[in-house]
């Protein structure tokens, strides 16, 4: 167990180092923060033009969640992709250490950054749009935000594991992020979608979590939304387990065929 903790900690350190390199004042102030805020603003304005301030408020909550989820899906996918890009995948395979706690640690920085994005969007855009949202309601929903970002992270791992033998990882995880925006009830309710799309949305992370967040913000209790929260956690665990299986399979195949450098 102590070895797992050590691996987790060293993974977290590596993950933080990777992100820290990119966190110069210029990239944070000129790119990361504006990108997060302005993407949300763009979709909120579309909703405002389409359905007035009520739909804009709906989109504000949805895009707050999506800002974190989108980032998490990409970052978790990149955690796996990065090993390939940097040429460290063979060492990871050859090492006797268990890769799971190390990868969990590596993912921590991306997860935390996702949560920071939620905070940023809320702090800037709620007063900016004058949305009728109280800090207390948002704080009550905070645990569901945490769960939903974690659940989406599992999908990011799966995406990274699946796209490992290809060169299309970034395109795949970006597409997943946007598809979640479409099917997850971010800009308009899931119920407005065709039944088949609703069904797909319900099988993806974020959809249930976002429904629970909206309900809690509107005054529902945790008991009322427990089904949705349970679904979100369950979906996250399923995607996490799948990611574990697929990544293990990829590593085994790479060991057997010796083609890890061809990825």
């Amino acid at each position: 167990m102590s070895q797992w903790i050590q691996l987790f900690r060293s993974g977290a350190r590596t993950g933080w180092s990777n992100i820290a390199v990119e966190l110069t004042p210029a990239t944070v102030l000129g790119s990361r923060i504006p990108r997060t805020i302005l993407q949300a603003v763009f979709f909120i304005l579309i909703s405002y033009a389409a359905g007035g301030s009520e739909l804009a408020k709906f989109a504000l909550i949805g895009n707050t969640m999506h800002a974190a989820v989108f980032h998490s899906v990409i970052e978790m996918s990149v955690v796996i992709e990065l090993e390939k890009w940097l040429g460290t995948m063979p060492y990871l395979i050859a090492s006797p250490a268990n890769w799971f706690p190390a990868m969990m640690g590596r993912s921590l920085a991306g997860y935390v950054e996702g949560l920071i994005r939620i905070l940023l969007v809320l702090l800037i855009l709620v007063p900016f749009f004058g949305a009728d949202l109280t800090a207390l309601d948002l704080l009550r929903a905070a645990p569901i935000f945490f769960v939903t970002v974690a659940s989406a992270s599992a999908l990011g791992w799966l995406s990274g594991a699946m796209s490992l033998p290809t060169r299309w990882g970034m395109l795949i995880c970006n597409t997943i992020g946007y598809v979640m925006m479409l099917t997850g009830g971010v800009n308009f309710p899931v119920t407005a979608l065709p039944p088949v799309i609703q069904w797909i949305g319900r099988l993806l992370p974020m959809t249930n979590g976002l429904l629970a967040i909206r309900a809690v913000i509107d005054g529902a209790s945790y008991a009322d939304t427990s089904g949705l929260i349970f679904n979100e956690i369950f979906i996250g665990l399923v995607y996490g387990a799948l990611a574990w299986r697929v990544f293990s399979h990829r590593l085994n195949v790479a060991r057997q065929t010796g083609n890890i450098e061809q990825f």
Binding site: T24, S31, R35, Y48, A50, G52, L182
Partner: protein
């Protein structure tokens, strides 16, 4: 003079072809030309339909197409410079007697024409997914406006591309620069919902006028498309002058400091 012109055209044609070959294997272009236009069309038209403003459908389709065109252009300017830098060829291109902007013009035009695919994709998505009536009131004006918009956006891309030479983080800044342009240009919503003090900024952006010209040609906006086309031509010339001045300045700086490889 004729020989000089001929050699410039040869360089433009060569870089045009080179870029087309590179694009065929580039996942970013698959994303910006095929995947994103579909998703943005579904998202925007879906939001307007949910908000009970189905008559905004064609507006949203054109806007999504313009976003694809702009994406391809902005990614072009940034990615070309970044690609050359990563490939270690940027210094050689800067040092070569052929002006670097001429090479960039060829490559940008190549991507600009390819970006027309995104417009076809958005129209097809609107037609298939929402069965929208996509009647263009003045097809001749629409085609001319589209071509002028492409040229104008390419020129605007050159202005941004000149500054990308200065930074390694062009990719990050490109991502951040997308959404302000989408918002200020009113690609997906009427500009009237933006604060009045932002209008002067909107009026200096090629996508604003391109979108307006296409909207007027399609019969969505009560305006004369030919007059807007004239404005687009003037704007393109201004962009070219600015881009030329900036390139000269940037080129001088990197030659003087010998800092091309250390940015």
């Amino acid at each position: 003079m004729i020989n000089r012109l001929r050699s410039l055209l040869r360089v433009i044609a060569g870089s045009f072809t080179m870029q087309a070959k590179e694009r065929a294997t580039n996942q970013f272009f698959v994303g910006t030309l095929l995947v994103l236009p579909i998703i943005f069309t579904l998202l925007s038209v879906g939001t307007y339909l949910y908000g009970g403003k189905g008559n905004f459908g064609l507006y949203a389709v054109i806007g999504a197409g313009m976003m694809g065109v702009w994406n391809a252009n902005l990614w072009t300017s940034g990615r070309i410079v970044e690609g050359e830098r990563r490939g270690g060829t940027l210094s050689m291109l800067i040092a070569s007697p052929t002006p670097f902007p001429i090479i960039l013009v060829g490559k940008s035009l190549s991507n600009a024409f390819a970006s027309l695919i995104s417009l076809v994709v958005t129209f097809a998505t609107g037609l298939i997914a929402f069965r929208l009536e996509l009647d263009i009131a003045n097809p001749a004006a629409f085609i001319v406006s589209l071509l002028l918009t492409l040229v104008s956006m390419t020129c605007f891309g050159l202005v941004l591309g000149s500054t990308f030479v200065l930074t390694r983080n062009a990719g990050d800044f490109m991502e951040a620069a997308n959404y302000p342009i989408f918002i200020l240009s009113g690609l997906m919503f009427p500009l009237t919902i933006l604060p009045a003090w932002l209008r002067p900024l909107s009026s200096i952006l090629a996508p604003t006028w391109g979108n307006l010209a296409l909207g007027a040609s399609a019969g969505l906006v009560a305006d004369n498309p030919w007059l807007i086309d004239l404005y687009l031509i003037g704007l393109s010339l201004v962009y070219l002058i600015i881009a030329r001045t900036l390139f000269k300045k940037v080129e001088y700086l990197v030659r003087r400091d010998g800092s091309m490889e250390v940015f």
